[in-house]
């Protein structure tokens, strides 16, 4: 690991000022000289690998009094950026009213990591692509724009099939983001230009600029998330398929929330994980289900619509099939959920 300076501000404005470079627009946020650290589970791993090389770490754990709360109200669920994953996993209200969110926490990582990792850092976790993580690979458009992509012709069993390009096929590995994208959440930030609210679906960018992963500016800090309440949030679940039963990233996953009128789908909200370049909302599948009776045939048709644009590579073609089966199972499971009167 390379040397860095460390500071621990007490308020958001100071944290933002400490992390803002002199010319913010000229740098990809992940390459900025100053980086925020909360749980440390992502950035210290990548710094040990020499994949990230910040010169300064701004420890934001001192902001927990302002950014550490879970607040459930009649219109929305508000989640502070410094809420820990284990805190959200065990929250009784979230388990009852937004089970898909609680389940993305319970099925992610392992107990120690969930105690450490913050929600803000969680959505910014970086791909598990081994050609990105290991800087001894010369070709990686995320690390060196224009250098090429070693995964295209390499071992790409775990890579993405949706939203990929010829410059990058890295998978977005997270679970929480799939619930946020499905439920139409938004992200609140504070940055050099002030505070703003970004629809979660627009937080992550596509693969045309693999080195710039989000629309955040250097020095811009995620302060929280707002999940709108809706008739679909209680009838929701997260299904995650992995190589191991626990403590593994998704090969395919589905975050599903349904508003039902008897057997008929009034509205479906679907996020897909493990298969896409970024948090992925399956709009085509949602549209295919709207107003339909939910059964194996309509669920299968929706899943087919979700993967119609899939672009598999040598070792990950199985994800097209696995992803569809995962979504079908999740839809039928959520459709069968018994709701309290």
């Amino acid at each position: 690991m390379r040397p860095f300076a460390y500071s621990r501000p007490d308020d958001v404005a100071t944290a933002v000022r400490m992390a803002t470079p002199p010319m913010p627009k000229a740098i990809a946020p992940t390459s900025a000289p100053a980086q925020f650290i909360a749980g440390g589970t992502l950035i210290l791993d990548l710094m040990k690998l020499d994949t990230m090389r910040p010169e300064r770490l701004v420890d934001i754990n001192g902001l927990a009094p302002a950014l550490g709360a879970i607040q459930s109200g009649p219109h929305a669920l508000r989640l502070g950026a410094l809420v820990r994953m284990s805190q959200l996993a065990d929250d009784a209200t979230v388990n009852r009213d937004y089970p898909v969110i609680a389940q993305t926490m319970q099925l992610a990582a392992a107990a120690q990591l969930r105690n450490m990792a913050s929600l803000g850092g969680n959505v910014l976790q970086r791909t598990r692509c081994q050609y990105f993580r290991d800087p001894s690979w010369q070709q990686c458009n995320k690390r060196h724009p224009g250098s090429g992509c070693a995964a295209l012709g390499g071992v790409n069993r775990k890579h993405a099939v949706l939203g990929v390009s010829d410059t990058c096929i890295a998978e977005y590995p997270g679970d929480f983001a799939q619930a946020l994208v499905a439920l139409g959440a938004s992200v609140e930030t504070q940055g050099p230009a002030g505070a703003r609210t970004i629809p979660f679906e627009r937080l992550h960018r596509g693969p045309d600029t693999p080195d710039v992963e989000t629309v955040l500016n250097p020095g811009e800090l995620i302060t929280g998330f707002v999940v709108p309440a809706g008739p679909w949030t209680r009838r929701s679940a997260y299904l995650k398929v992995r190589d191991r039963q626990s403590y593994a990233f998704a090969l395919a996953s589905a975050a599903v929330a349904l508003d039902m009128d008897g057997d008929t789908v009034r509205e479906a909200r679907i996020g897909l994980g493990g298969v896409a370049y970024r948090p992925w909302r399956a709009h085509e599948a949602e549209a295919a289900l709207k107003g339909k009776r939910l059964d194996a045939a309509t669920a299968t048709a929706a899943a087919r619509a979700a993967f119609a644009g899939a672009r598999p590579h040598e070792h990950n073609a199985y994800k097209v099939d696995l992803g569809q089966r995962t979504l079908v199972r999740a839809l039928l499971q959520v459709g069968r959920m018994e709701m309290p009167a």
């Binding site: 210290l44 791993d45 990591l113």
Partner: protein
């Protein structure tokens, strides 16, 4: 009693092993361990942004160390404070061998910077009582033969204690899920589950 050399910081131990005592610069972190209260250790030299003076409470003892900002809690424990019970397995937060409690929560000390720690730390060395009576979880690991090589065991035991305290040891399946962050290459898993079940009963009675 551990061998005396085992209590030395790694750098010092290596220097001794090399027979380089004469004139060799043995310069680990400046460490002053003291009973509660008196803390007279030197602070980080001013002007060097890459050094930090850290006040830690480890197993109810207050410690002050001056370390490179890069130093993890794990390396601080092992190399600067002589607490080598917490193990370095992967050093990337994947194996759980370095698990300690920070503020009572199980935490990976290899992905925690020493400078970030504000709450009390409990390591495997602080689990037994002062008079040497083993914690029920330690005794259960012995009774149930829950290890072979033993390298992952300190992390397993610390993690298992937290697992029971969290209320996540209600069934074998739940134990397996909530202990999945502690890998055992000897695959003693069935015995680890048995040990946690045994200790759980005693911990709940206590």
């Amino acid at each position: 009693m551990p061998d005396k050399d085992d209590t030395l910081p790694d750098e010092a131990r290596r220097a001794l092993l090399k027979g380089a005592a004469a004139g060799a610069a043995i310069a680990p972190a400046m460490v002053v361990a003291s009973p509660a209260g008196a803390m007279a250790a030197p602070a980080a030299p001013p002007g060097n942004p890459h050094l930090a003076t850290v006040d830690l409470t480890i197993n109810d003892r207050r410690e002050r160390v001056t370390v490179d900002t890069r130093t993890t809690l794990l390396d601080t424990l092992r190399n600067h404070l002589g607490l080598t019970g917490s193990k370095k397995g992967c050093d990337h937060g994947q194996c759980g061998a370095c698990t300690v409690l920070v503020g009572g929560r199980r935490t990976l000390s290899c992905l925690t910077l020493a400078t970030m720690v504000r709450e009390a730390v409990t390591t495997i060395e602080g689990i037994a009582t002062a008079d040497g009576m083993l914690h029920p979880m330690q005794q259960a690991f012995i009774d149930q033969d829950a290890f072979q090589c033993g390298y992952c065991t300190p992390g397993q035991i610390v993690s298992a204690i937290a697992c029971v305290r969290e209320g996540h040891a209600r069934s074998d399946d739940e134990i397996r899920e909530y202990m999945s962050g502690n890998l055992c290459r000897c695959a003693a898993y069935p015995h680890i589950v048995a040990a946690i079940n045994q200790a759980k009963t005693q911990m709940e009675k206590a």
